[in-house]
Subunit: 396 residues, 2 copies
């Protein structure tokens, strides 16, 4: 059961289409642990005994500068490619573009990916993270909402420490989808001399009003559930109803009509129960959304999602600069933005606007537009469309 | 206060843009009441003492066949044009296309619009409706969830009875946006010989899986609020938290990124409270969404929304036919579909598909695409873009 849950959301979507699984990195990979006795956040607050899981694919060159960092999305983790066991049904989420001869070529590059702070699935045995569900060494109890507020810059700083521990001298590129793309932008302003290229996917250099409003809607159901209890629910009943609702909304807002229409059309959830006969008789679209979201609560932690929501909401590359223009000026990395035409969260018009602003500021930038039936998830499921654009970016 | 609320959602959106208000129907209009001692639903169930508000603009011709029926959207009512008082800040929601010399020309046509059963704002003094918040004459208490389940066909049948009471011999057209568009399609299969043209706006001839899933998310927060109490809350505390959340989601899913980004960008809700400083410090996008939704709960009724959700979810023109094809065959009306390019609920690709299916079935059909920054609401706020297309349709 646990294993099935761990396959993650990509499988949920893929199953309806029986997408042929392309094995990019046809090898068994391993989750490793990066640990720090103490980590200081941008806010000045310190966290003791920080752990972050990470995976690597490929080999570090003698000059230690052939590295590509992949940052994960909101509901994801560092499992970007390969399989943990030969029996795994699906590989890491970007396996289609990572592997020998693939755009993120493991014959040439060392690919590194790590779990962020406050990963939303701390109960997933393959996630290693430090966040509100972790034990506070000072009290011996879970932090809950006493965990310090974290930012995307903190995620990036922790990744930087991981890369330093591996001896990495330079990043050929940073890439990632959605919250991973957000981290990618942050890398460009945080360590401008360390990053040659950024390839942010389905993301913008700051969170806009539109997504700020959506993030509120993602978080509020958790807080409205009395069992949330201001974050103090560990060891007791969890706010499962609020969490399930939140996961339904996240799922749906990350998708698009084509997917839902083809998957469910107007089928009934139960062929014996006509939705016309009773209020509680559902269509399959309703029941499937609920079933999957409920299943995901086995791994997800409500507080961790609130921390991720806040970190994302606060994201703006101009944080720490006098203006957005100054932040933009500081970027040295060549930029390849990748968007998806049906993305409802980071919309294509937003990405086009940002590409234009980068261009006007004299940056080397291009924008590749994925055509997808999967909405926001097009940046994960249809990323192979961008293969040539990524290869070209890395070759330049 | 009540008055301000009654201005409805359109004002909320318009205020951010200070849209110049174009007065189409520059006259004072009046809400009238259509009453029936008994109304029989398609299900066979009967409702006693049914009332429906309606408005008319223009004059019925001697041949009584110059009539256009306008059906209202989910959160709307029959106030499609004109003002109730000279001091009204905004006119009816489609005033830009209704009036002398406008596409829905009050010099030529009698425009009729009526409040549906289970209108979601029964507390609005300008809404006259019969639904779960109405007093059940048999018990002297509000129906609550004992009100019979209603369908879009029931809405249409009640409108037909209203039109018969006015002596209307023929409809030159039926039109409406969103749930109004849904009723428009239903009219074409319910009374094929009575309807010359249909102009469904931001709607499809059946609800797709995508929207079925969204409707579930619109309704669940109400049911998750313990104060909902299975619909038995009249005279007690109402499920205001769930209702507010639901209205936030409805608002946001009916809009689009351009609107939110321009209205709010990354402004703080309170210039003294940096969102970086505390979890509860919000961005303006979050606070404004909540404030407006909370205000709307003054008029809205939770149960009525659940009834509307169900009526919409059940909508499919093939209900009562052996197949979708048979339903389509029965349509005699010329069809002008109108969509909005940024609509997330009834998406433009869906509308294009349906236009194609109508065409393949030999129907006279065309599709006009509104370009809007307002998402689904483009079908209300930017309807004037379709003026020529509507005029042309009516002239043919």
């Amino acid at each position: 059961m646990k294993k099935r849950m761990a396959l993650g959301f990509v499988l949920f979507v893929s199953l309806f289409f029986a997408c042929g699984v392309v094995w990019g990195l046809d090898e068994i990979v391993e989750k490793k642990t990066f640990a720090l006795d103490e980590f200081t956040l941008v806010s000045g607050q310190k966290i003791s005994q920080v752990k972050a899981g990470y995976e690597t694919y490929g080999t570090l060159s003698p000059t230690k500068d052939n590295v590509i960092l992949i940052c994960h999305y909101y509901s994801g983790n560092s499992h970007a490619a390969g399989k943990y066991a030969a029996t795994d049904k699906v590989p890491g989420y970007w396996d289609k573009i990572i592997g020998p001869g693939m755009p993120f070529d493991t014959d040439k590059y060392l690919i590194v990916s790590s779990d962020t702070l406050c990963n939303m699935n701390p109960k997933d045995p393959k996630v290693i993270t430090t966040g509100p569900a972790s034990i506070n060494p000072a009290t011996g109890k879970p932090y809950g909402m006493s965990f310090p507020m974290v930012t995307i810059r903190d995620f990036v700083n922790l990744q930087y420490k991981l890369l330093q521990s591996l001896g990495v001298k330079k990043l050929q590129a940073v890439s990632g989808a959605s919250m991973g793309g957000v981290q990618t932008y942050e890398w460009a302003v945080a360590y401008p001399d360390y990053v040659e290229r950024i390839i942010p996917v389905i993301a913008t250099p700051k969170l806009h009003g539109w997504l700020l409003a959506w993030l509120k809607l993602w978080g509020d159901p958790i807080k409205l559930d009395p069992k949330w209890n201001h974050g103090d629910y560990y060891g007791q009943e969890e706010p499962k109803e609020g969490l399930t609702y939140s996961l339904m909304l996240i799922t749906l807002s990350a998708l698009w009509s084509d997917w839902a229409d083809k998957s469910f059309d107007r089928k009934w959830a139960d062929s014996q129960k006509n939705p016309s006969d009773a209020f509680e008789n559902e269509f399959l679209a309703e029941a499937a959304l609920h079933k999957r979201a409920f299943a995901r609560t086995l791994m997800a932690d409500a507080n961790s999602m609130l921390y991720l929501n806040k970190a994302n909401a606060l994201f703006d590359i101009s944080q720490g600069f006098s203006s957005y223009e100054e932040a933009l000026k500081s970027i040295k990395a060549k930029t390849l933005m990748i968007g998806a035409d049906t993305d409802l969260l980071f919309t294509l018009p937003q990405l086009r606007q940002h590409a234009e602003v980068f261009k006007m500021a004299g940056k080397t930038v291009s924008l590749f537009e994925i055509k997808s039936q999967f909405g926001h998830l097009g940046g994960v499921l249809d990323i192979a469309q961008a293969s040539d654009a990524i290869s070209k970016c890395l070759a330049e």
